[in-house]
Amino acid sequence: MAVSLREYRARIKSTESMKKITRAMELIAASRIIKAQQRAQQAAPYARELTRAVSAVATFSNVDHPLTREEENPKRAAVLVITSDRGLAGAYSSSVLKEAERLAGRLRDEGKEIDWFLAGRKSEAYFKFRERPFVESWTGFSDQPTYDKAAEIGKALIEAFLADSAEQQGEEARYEDVDEVHIVYTRFRSMLVQEPTAVRLLPLEVVEGEEPPEEDELLPLYEFEPSASQVLDGLLPQYVQSRIFYSLLQAAASELAARQKAMKAATDNADELIKKLTRIANQARQAGITQEISEIVGGVNALADAQAAAND
């Protein structure tokens, strides 16, 4: 009995230190969410102004740009999957991957082949473990994405999307040409709800004009410098990058929220486990004491019986 008592005590101790770790991770995640939300808010003006500029060009000139051109017969699609770098965030990464698989199934049904682009170590590991090919991966920034990383990813995706026109101009493309680009990320709705979402990034759908002008109203004549098409050339890649940055920021906030929730559940579980183990340990200790007492009493009785027999 004494041995198992020691075992129980050791288990209680290790559960306690585990609880300390999960509690710390919960608190860290909680404090980082606030920062992640702030970053998302700070990035909003840029996205807003860019959208405004893009819709201005779209409304006041004739948009025809390779990035907005729909392929007649799309054969290949690129999918960017945004997961976390580290685990201990509950089902966060696996639900993104599930959503990605769902999207992949849909795209395959439409007769498209899929090129995978991965962000986050978890998705990379998922593909490597299954020995499935992917085109490129970026890791090491999932909880604090920077704009430069988003720009890097954006450039790669745009390059893949425009690979066919680059080839026509005799340039060698780094990637195989794709006709569509999709992103799968987790949208941060609230601290409690984060949903994995799949959106199509390219070809871009430009939403025209925030307030559609009246029929008889004179349109403000925009001056484009150097020209509308060159401005668009500059704007659209930025727009794509800022959309990716937005997705990365949303994913980061979701990851931290998922981690906080998972770690809170782990801490609560540890609490319960400690309670249960303490009860069992107490029982074992009590059983040990009871046994010792009965052994002593038994021994004393035996001695008394022996003495009485000798005296007789």
Binding site: P45, A53, A151, L218, L221, E223, E225, V231
Partner: protein
């Protein structure tokens, strides 16, 4: 410039200086001077709607009602003007007062050393020059 939009005369020129990850400066201005890929552009109140590509250069904003000038280095980007609202968008924007002159000089030297090595180098030089100019403009005091 004629006003095509019919905005009120009293409306001030509102300026937003927005980098990819934050708003660097926003407020009312008397005039904005920026360098587009075609040349310098000055924007006053009631400017016609415009959308231009910016060069890696310095943007100056003369703050409304004061002698203050906000100087910032931009890394390319866009200038859009409509309805007395100017937004300057760039991936990286730094205010002149946040740039250290000596560091900017060192960076410029380093970038110059790289010229010819790759295509990025020239861009880096232009960027470093813009930063240095922004920093020097601020340190030489207001009134420029």
């Amino acid at each position: 410039m004629a006003d095509h939009t019919g905005a009120a005369d009293t409306e001030a020129l509102h300026v937003e200086l927005v980098a990819a990850d934050r708003t660097v400066w926003s407020g009312d201005a008397a005039m904005v001077i920026a360098r587009t890929t075609e040349g310098d552009i000055g924007v006053l109140r009631d400017h016609a709607p415009a959308l231009s590509l910016l060069a890696e250069a310095v943007v100056e904003i003369q703050v409304e009602g004061t002698d203050d000038v906000v100087v910032a280095a931009v890394d390319g980007g866009f200038l859009s003007v409509a309805n007395n609202r100017v937004s300057i968008l760039s991936e990286h924007i730094e205010l002149g007062e946040d740039i250290h002159v000596d560091k900017a000089k060192a960076e410029l030297e380093e970038a110059r050393g790289l010229i010819g090595a790759n295509n990025e180098a020239e861009r880096r030089v232009r960027r470093a020059e813009a930063r240095l100019r922004a920093a020097e403009k601020v340190s030489s005091g207001p009134g420029h």
